[in-house]
Symmetry: none
Subunit: 231 residues, 2 copies
DNA sequence: TCTTTTATTTCGGTT
DNA sequence: AACCGAAGTAAAAGA
């Protein structure tokens, strides 16, 4: 990511045409070549931008532009549409580049993690007499989301998903196979818990003796009183 | 505007619906205290953000957090909704501040401006014998979008909108009232022209003797051949 | 086929 | 009237 603070004017031609008069702004060039033009206020939305896939070309100003105080011209062209963003730079006040790497940023992880936290707090949703042993119980092939015991004290491994798909059942199956080889744990039964369970996944799970539990996320959130609510 | 590149994780307090795992990101602190968290890819939309009005507080990590590698904690609190964004910073790779000043803002030469231009060129869409007098005809309370004369030579004030709402009818009514006091112009009739006119607006307009005209933007564009098209 | 993302959207709610 | 952000949207893109 490259960050440039510059006095510039910007023109956009595409779905509509728009113009930004000369002012000092932040130009954010992302790794994929996309460009965001931000001011020091307003909303999270840039003043103007070009979405990927696009290419940025830097060029020298022509004589007329140079006479007008323009020191460089950026032309950002969209690869599929004819959209174009033209940045006329008068003065560069800051210019730095940074390696950020790819972002794991998934909102899904948030919901899944929250579901895990909620189910750990409300483990009785799996059945009366259930007790939480541990979240993220580590095995040789990865962490089991939740390990619990049922009313008889037998181990139960819980695989948690937002959307219960076949992949999740396979994953849980692998954990169960491994854990059932450990005499300190065996016998371990499986519970496949999700907000929504696909019919194919349910069929496969039940065929393997894995119980399916559909979780009501909103209801679980409503019950949750572990910490002060903001709303 | 302050720009920080940091390895950080981000959480909403209360609802974990948006958790961002540890990664290197751009933290953009705008002059109004609002915060934008950007990754090096994706859309123009930040991964997460807090809109103004809000305040940013920097604090030291507690012992547990420090043991986990957190060097500082930013808490961004919304002033009205109690929304909270918590940024746990592990490592700061860049930190710079810049004075940008206020931005003059985006000039959209979008649909409304284009509609005005097109209607000026195709003024006969209002009726046979219509003649354009002037675009942006200035009055004491602001410019009338289009001033024309009808087949009988009487003045017609046109208010142009993309979406014809009640506000637009009120605006035109004020113009008409003012212009009809001017003996050089009076009598002036009104035309409310828009791509789409809401029923309430139409009712109000017709009740006041203002004619409503729905414009077909695409059709008008098709006729237009004044300059090269992008699509 | 189905799921996720974007839109320089469109809309309503709020200064 | 302007601004902002969500979206019983919608359409395109991606997997």
């Amino acid at each position: 990511m490259r960050l440039v603070i510059a006095r510039c004017s910007v023109d956009y031609a595409g779905r509509l045409s728009a113009h930004l008069p000369l002012a000092t702004r932040l130009l954010m060039v992302k790794g994929d070549g996309s460009l965001l033009v931000h001011s020091d206020g307003g909303s999270y939305k840039p003043l103007n931008w070009m979405s990927p896939p696009c290419t940025l070309a830097e060029s020298e100003p022509d004589e007329e532009q140079a006479a007008g105080g323009i020191t460089q011209v950026w032309t950002v062209t969209h690869k599929k549409t004819a959209d174009r963003l033209i940045v006329k730079i008068h003065e560069v006040l800051h210019d730095s580049a940074h390696e950020l790497g790819i972002d794991p940023g998934l909102q899904k992880d948030g919901v899944e993690a929250h579901l895990q936290q909620l189910l750990a707090e409300q483990i009785e949703r799996l059945g009366d007499g259930y007790t939480l042993i541990r979240r993220e119980y580590m095995t040789a092939i990865g962490p089991v989301d939740i390990l619990a015991t049922d009313e008889a004290g037998a181990s139960v491994a819980v695989e948690l998903k937002r959307r219960g798909d076949i992949d999740g059942v396979e994953q849980l199956t692998r954990y169960l196979e491994l854990m059932n080889r450990d005499p300190r744990l065996a016998p371990v039964r499986g519970v496949f818990a999700a907000q929504e369970i696909k019919p194919q996944a349910r069929t496969l799970a039940e065929d393997r003796g894995i119980r399916c539990v559909v979780l009501d996320y909103d209801e679980m959130r409503g019950v949750d009183s572990g910490h002060a609510r903001l709303f």
